[in-house]
């Protein structure tokens, strides 16, 4: 192996799958081999059986659907406000100077710490869940977008000016298209974070959703169900990440090396 030398696509997929195999094998050996107390860690087969029961008997797919809706709802809210604000901050330094210190402060406020307050304000309905995700994603997203737009190549901006572009034209026809691929990449990352916040929001004061199922299973000491819930989140995350990546590659072919 030499540094930075690429591997073939087949080897890439093979190696990626191989780690999943190693991981499940180690888990299987530890649990089925009797090295771990089954009360604390279910084996892979029990996990699959628990998952089957959840889906068929308990209608777990409804929880999955509601969790997905919460994630995308909160994420869409954060993106709808955060991307335009980030673009304005990146483009206009006065706007950045106005918002940046507060947003830098706000992004360190833990979203999960807001849950008790949000329950007080918005109850334990859907709005509260969306707000947790919004708070968790919004501030990070704004800063990432602002930095991206602010680091647009200056020579491209200057070229646009010498071609007769004015301020509005530079924003629309240089800053936006040149930042778009990185903004899309930031959205992909933030969507990943939204998944962690939704589960936190559902652990407290929820009666539906994957997170709620996980807290319920804890009371029943059903580690199989807990692990199944976690795995489902991972699989959905993997799929949405893959779709996002493919979409970005389709939309911005010029930005690929």
């Amino acid at each position: 192996m030499r540094p930075l030398v690429p591997v073939s696509p087949a080897a890439r997929v093979g190696l990626g799958v191989a780690f999943f195999v190693v991981f499940f094998a180690a888990w299987g050996v530890a649990t089925l081999g009797g090295y771990v107390n089954p009360t604390f860690l279910a084996d892979p087969l029990t996990m699959l059986r628990a998952g089957w029961r959840l889906l068929v008997v308990h209608g777990f797919y409804e929880d999955i659907a509601i969790t997905i809706w919460r994630v995308f709802g909160g994420f869409a809210l954060a993106a709808a406000v955060g991307v335009p604000l980030g673009i304005l901050m990146g483009a206009y330094k006065g706007i950045e100077a106005f918002f940046e210190p507060f947003i830098s402060f706000a992004r360190y406020l833990p979203a999960s710490g807001f849950i008790p307050l949000l329950i007080l304000w918005a109850g334990i309905g859907e709005l509260e869940k969306l707000l947790v995700i919004f708070i968790g994603s919004f501030f990070q997203l704004v800063l990432m977008v602002a930095v991206t737009v602010g680091s647009t190549r200056r020579d491209l901006v200057e070229a646009a000016y010498t071609l007769g572009a004015r301020a509005g034209g530079v924003v629309r026809r240089v800053l936006l298209p040149s930042s778009a691929p990185t903004i899309a990449e930031s959205l992909r990352l933030v969507l990943g974070w939204a998944w962690t916040y939704v589960i936190v929001a559902e652990l407290i004061g929820a009666s539906t959703g994957i997170g709620h199922m996980i807290t319920d299973s804890q009371a029943l000491l059903d580690t199989g169900q807990i692990i199944f819930g976690i795995v489902v989140i991972g699989v959905i995350g993997l799929i949405s990440d893959y779709l996002f990546k493919t979409l970005n590659q389709r939309l911005f072919p010029w930005s690929l090396a």
Binding site: D155, L156, E158, A159, A160, Y161, T162, L163, G164, A165, R166, G169, R173, V174, P177, S178, A180, F252, P253, W254, S255
Partner: protein
């Protein structure tokens, strides 16, 4: 009519954190006549690019003013087309869309945009590459597109900041010939910044030699070689004599420039 007047233009960059300010350009004055081709030759760091950026309106002089057809320059505009040393094509636009950028910005009708783009793509020899993205093009092709993009705006004056500096010697020679043929056809006023003596003599009507920092005008040399110029002119005794003279002028400045850095 495009007559460029540089009137007592100087540039001083403020010092950072207690360092003394840098005088990049001493006050200088000269004019460039309509259809003239003036090369500005100087060692690296002499402020020749700063001067060009001031003419483009991308930088502001500390004193003096720049006039284009008697109108003071107060910022960048489409009447002064520029080609940069770095590759500045918009990477998300095709060759054709890059060339149409300025036309679109000025709300030229779409059919007219397409006609102009086609015309200039032909002139810089890129027919067949209209729908290529910049990353699919060689350095020489990118700079030809950049030249076409600047010309498509029909500027009064063309500002060229070492546009072929990053190209290999062979491509560079071909680009010089291409630029000359375009200039001979269009008769734009051209201000061409370079540190390459051959390039300056081959292309320009006059060569303005600048001193090492702070930049001043050291000499203005007329290049009375006949036009249209063919690349074989580079082997004539007249060319060699001009080159020898400019080499002399610039050598002393390059030595000073190196000494200032050490």
């Amino acid at each position: 009519m495009a007559r460029l007047t540089i009137d007592q233009v100087s540039r001083r960059f403020p010092g950072a954190r207690g360092h003394a300010p840098t005088q990049a350009l001493e006050p200088m004055s000269f004019t460039v006549a309509d259809n003239d081709f003036l090369a500005i030759l100087g060692p690296s760091g002499c402020g020749k690019s700063t001067l060009l950026r001031i003419v483009a309106g991308l930088d502001t002089p500390s004193s003096g003013r720049v006039l284009l057809d008697e109108v003071p320059v107060a910022g960048p505009g489409p009447d002064r087309g520029m080609v940069f040393q770095s590759y500045t094509l918009f990477p998300w636009l095709t060759v054709s869309d890059n060339i149409r950028f300025g036309l679109r910005e000025r709300r030229v009708p779409v059919a007219e945009q397409a006609r102009v783009a086609r015309e200039y793509i032909g002139r810089v020899g890129l027919t067949g590459f209209e729908h290529h993205l910049p990353k699919m093009l060689s350095g020489g092709m990118q700079q030809r597109t950049a030249l076409a993009r600047a010309l498509a705006n029909d500027p009064k004056i063309l500002l060229l900041d070492e546009p072929f500096g990053a190209l290999d010697t062979q491509t560079r020679a071909l680009m010089q010939e291409l630029l000359l043929s375009v200039w001979e056809a269009e008769r734009k006023t051209v201000l061409f910044v370079t540190h390459d003596i051959d390039e300056a003599v081959f292309m320009a009507n006059r060569v303005l030699v600048m001193t090492a920092r702070p930049g001043r005008i050291k000499a203005v040399v007329e290049v009375a070689l006949p036009r249209p110029r063919h690349y074989t002119v580079k082997t004539t005794p007249e060319f060699a004599a001009l080159k020898a003279r400019l080499t002399d002028e610039i050598r002393a400045e390059s030595i000073r420039a190196v000494e200032m850095e050490t």
